[in-house]
């Protein structure tokens, strides 16, 4: 399906290039993009947001080659089936990342802004629960730990169920 672009790669991706590609498609008036970046606080531990708690200094992203690409392709195709889109994109990095690095891009292009925005959010929510990636956080105190899955992500993903 030529309207889907899915890539899993260690290298950074070019968000502006992808925006330009999507904006140039016929009939497109709206492009919604979401970018996830490595942040300095653990994602699943609100209590850690105190001054002396260790911070995140890096991330390692493991994935299941083959199954990951299939899962992302399926998510993007479901976005195309659910909203009037010209194109849907999911780019996801793997391997070693550092603070502030981009992790993921979801993007949707449509004649209409709400379709693009909703499809873009749908892809992120589904990616969080359906795509085989695992994050390992490297902390400022030298520790490393596998990130735990969050119930809020399950709820967010289920809200799109028919």
């Amino acid at each position: 399906m030529g309207r889907v672009l899915v890539r899993v790669q260690p290298d950074d991706f070019d968000v502006a290039e992808e925006l330009d590609r999507l904006a140039a498609l016929p009939g497109v008036g709206a492009v919604a993009q979401f970018v996830g970046v490595v942040r300095d606080r653990p994602a699943d531990d609100p209590a850690s947001a105190t001054a002396d708690a260790p911070t995140v200094v890096g991330l390692e992203l493991e994935h299941y080659p083959g199954m990951t690409e299939t899962a992302l392709q399926s998510i993007a195709e479901r976005a195309l089936a659910g909203w009037p889109l010209a194109a849907a994109t999911i780019l996801h990095r793997v391997g070693a990342l550092t603070l502030g690095d981009r992790i993921v891009l979801t993007a949707a292009a449509s004649p209409h802004r709400h379709a693009a925005q909703e499809a873009c959010a749908f892809m992120m929510d589904r990616l969080k629960t359906d795509a085989p990636f695992w994050k390992r956080e490297l902390m400022s105190d030298g520790a490393a730990r596998w990130v735990a899955a969050r119930a809020t992500d399950d709820f967010a993903s289920k809200r799109w169920d028919p």
């Binding site: 199954m67 992790i103 990616l127 085989p132």
Partner: protein
């Protein structure tokens, strides 16, 4: 049958992938995990709580009680945390 492990399951077991030949009475991922858990303390530690383990049969996520059939590969992994 090729088995793959990911994230902390892989770390506990100490290998990423291996070829195994489970006996015929192993018919589901749950039974496969119980059979693998007997291979050593590292396996037992990895499979001590199946509540936190997910499984894919030939790269399709399934429940622990889905019939295995004759798969090419079975993967065990924690709940996913990408994005």
């Amino acid at each position: 049958m090729k088995i793959l492990y990911f994230a902390w399951i892989k770390e506990r077991i100490g290998v990423a992938t291996e070829e195994v030949s489970p006996p015929e009475e192993v018919g589901t991922p749950r039974e496969l995990a119980a059979w693998l858990a007997k291979r050593g303390d590292n396996y037992a530690a990895a499979f001590e709580d199946l509540e936190v383990i997910r499984v894919a049969i030939d790269q399709q996520e399934q429940t622990l009680d889905t019939p295995l059939g004759a798969p090419s590969e079975v993967a065990f992994f924690p709940p996913v945390t990408g994005g």
